[in-house]
Amino acid sequence: MGKQIELSRESSGSLISTKPVMTFARYRRLFLVLLCAPAFVYVLAVAVWPLLQGVYFSLYEYNLMRPASRAFVGLQNYRDFWADEAARGAIITTSIFTFSAVTLELILGLGLALLLWRDSVFERALLALLLIPVTVTPVAVGLIFRALLAPDFGVLGYYFAEWGLSGPRGFLGNPATALWTLVAIDAWEWTPLVTLILLAGLKSLPTDILEAAEADGATLAQRFRLIILPMLLPTIFLAAVLRSMDAFKVFDIIFATTNGGPGDATNTMMLFAVKEGLQFFNIGRASTVANLMIVCIALFSVAFVILIRGADRKANER
């Protein structure tokens, strides 16, 4: 008994002697680490872990309908995807959709933001009304536009077909126009969000520089090109990246209107992923498509960073 007490005393004594001295700086660092910990754990749990699982599953032939027959196949799922002509087409279609929709939304959004810049009751009320499309569920947006644009009995589509604007099959039934119609629908829904982001950017611009430029006799076009646009670039970048990530994952409006048709005209990667994952329950292949989408979105973001940085540098050189 006595020996044990001796021992514990000894060990506790040695502990005290090796324990690092907790200075204020160390406490502070520990405090900061603890502050970050929930966010860190959250990101690990909901982003990194599923991402790694996605990579893992993509290396397997794994179908939920036959869970027992799971087999390691290496990169076969990626090879299969690449060998499929329709799948390669889906990458191109998705890229065209994303680039066109985001560009259109940025141009329209910037225009609207400039119009709404002056802060009056009228502009504020208008902004609130403009935001209505953003609040509508994308599936509902798809269904509404499908009903509107139906060439045989749609409220708009009938007249578009009658007047020869859309061709007899309507905008959504013609492979040449279906994708562009979906770009327009996407722009209808998401331009207000881009407007909101850019408006926030415009309102945070320092007014003294603008006033100085005006006093120096800079024209409206000069002020826009030389001052507003360069200073707004970080906000434009934010809006572009946010929208690109979202547009690349487009699914709902296409599912509700064309389901990827006519032919392969509107077949996007997300349609592929959902089909593999939620219709065939082929988790291996669905993960493969999802991983490829992440790579594509990353590439898109990098392209935007390069573009915006280039523009920024050019503006600074002036």
Binding site: D152, P168, G170, G260
Partner: protein, 435 residues
């Protein structure tokens, strides 16, 4: 022993026997009561496809509670939602739902995965109570039986029928079609784009919509998706021929927007009055005479779907079964089976249809005077179900992929991207890899 004494003894014995009989019958009836009452307080969750029957069924469940004490909660889901939730539930063994409505084409997959309670023994046990003989054999088989395994119980049977515009046929001096060839000829004859009238309509949208409608026509025209050995035969000569006719119908006799129609678009075009002929599921038939849904009230005839000339009668069958989740505990399973028996019983199922469920499984229903008065087209459904076939969409585990392959190929042909032969050759190559 005197005669009087003997008589008294017999009387006593008789009384005793009577007392025992009363006691036994009390115990027996008590146990039946107890059996039903033993479910008191249980709750069953049912995930249902959002078809016409779903809301009516949800409305009827309080009656089941009154009879058994079991509460049934009905979640009404869209087709993709239902399939996703069911599969996730079965794979993860999460017991989210006790009962599922299951589509005719899922039978193969359910039998392979073994996720639902196999009902063969229960049906055998309760055959008299269920009145099995009253259920159309084709539905008993198609809506849940796969290679002898009953994975679901028939709940809502649909027949493929032809809805046609009587007024347009009369104006043109035509008789209703009795063969596929008649139908095709009438479709061309009745088409007049200047008046916005088209002779034919079917689903054209890429995916399940176009695939399912074409499979129906293809079978009527003598084609088939699988060969005699059950292997894919998508590019058979009969299939190529039927797709060629189908393409021509779409290009010359269907509303131009039909290449993007799914079920909803197809039905709307008919109810809007721009289409003269439409093959469709019997569940929608009552809607054509409802002024709130239709502009063609009183102008629609319902007849059996015409087969190809010289070919045997062929009527496609579809619909939904009710399946019990195998993961739930024994008592829940028993309560679920009790619910299936109740919901498909002659009286409750009749009530379901009286209230617009549009889902027939019993021979007595299609011959019921009350229902016949309300729905005069029931003899057409009866003939279709008596001679029907639920396998024109092959109910095999590979079905979803085959449907997808066909959905791409047929849509590509209809929009004019590729010729039938080439599209079906490519589809066949893809389908062959699944076997």
């Amino acid at each position: 022993m005197t005669a009087r004494q003997g008589g008294a003894r017999i009387k006593r014995r008789l009384m005793f026997a009577l007392e025992i009989a009363i006691a036994v019958s009390a115990i027996v009836s008590g146990s039946v009561q107890a059996q039903v009452k033993s479910f008191e307080g249980l709750t069953l969750k049912l995930a249902s496809q959002n078809d016409q029957f779903a809301a009516v069924l949800a409305d009827l469940t309080p009656e089941f509670k009154q009879a058994t004490g079991v509460t049934v909660k009905v979640d009404i889901l869209s087709y993709p939602d239902l399939l996703t939730k069911m599969t996730a539930d079965f794979v993860g063994h999460t017991k989210s739902y006790d009962l599922y409505t299951t589509d005719i084409v899922w039978a193969g997959q359910l039998a392979a995965s073994g996720s639902t309670v196999v009902l063969n023994d229960l049906i055998k046990r309760d055959a008299a109570e269920i009145k099995v003989d009253d259920i159309y054999p084709v539905l008993m088989n198609a809506l849940g039986n796969f290679k002898g395994k009953q994975v679901a119980f028939p709940f809502a049977g649909y027949a493929n029928i032809l809805a046609y515009r009587k007024d347009l046929y009369e104006q043109a001096g035509l008789q209703p079609p009795s063969t596929m060839e008649d139908l095709v000829a009438a479709a061309y004859r009745l088409t007049d784009p200047t008046k916005h009238i088209y002779g034919f309509v079917a689903n054209g949208q890429k995916g399940p919509a176009v695939a399912q409608d074409w499979m129906q026509y293809n079978k009527q025209m003598g084609g088939d998706i699988l060969d005699k050995d059950g292997k894919p035969a998508l590019n058979s000569a009969a299939n190529i021929k039927s797709l060629t006719v189908y393409k021509d119908l779409f290009q010359k006799a269907a509303p131009p927007g039909a290449v993007d129609y799914d079920w909803d678009g197809r039905e709307t075009s008919f109810r809007q009055g721009i289409v003269a002929n439409m093959q469709t599921w019997s569940i929608g038939a009552a809607g054509y005479s409802d002024p709130s849904q239709s502009k063609v009230v009183g102008k629609v005839g319902i007849i059996v779907a015409p087969p190809g000339k010289g070919l045997p009668k062929y009527y496609g069958v579809g619909g939904w079964g009710l399946a019990i989740n195998k993961d739930i505990d024994q008592k829940q399973q028993e309560a679920a089976w009790l619910f299936i028996k109740w919901a498909t019983s002659p009286s409750v199922h009749k009530e379901l249809n009286e209230k617009g469920g549009g889902s027939y499984i019993r021979i007595s229903e299609t011959h019921d005077p009350d229902l016949l008065k309300k729905y005069p087209f029931l003899p057409v459904i009866d003939e279709s179900l008596v001679n029907g076939d639920g396998d024109y969409r092959p109910r095999i585990p590979q079905y979803p992929q085959i449907q997808d392959i066909l959905g791409d190929a047929v849509n590509a042909v209809l929009v004019g991207n590729v010729e039938p032969q080439k599209a079906l050759d490519e589809a066949q190559a893809k389908a062959a890899r699944l076997f």
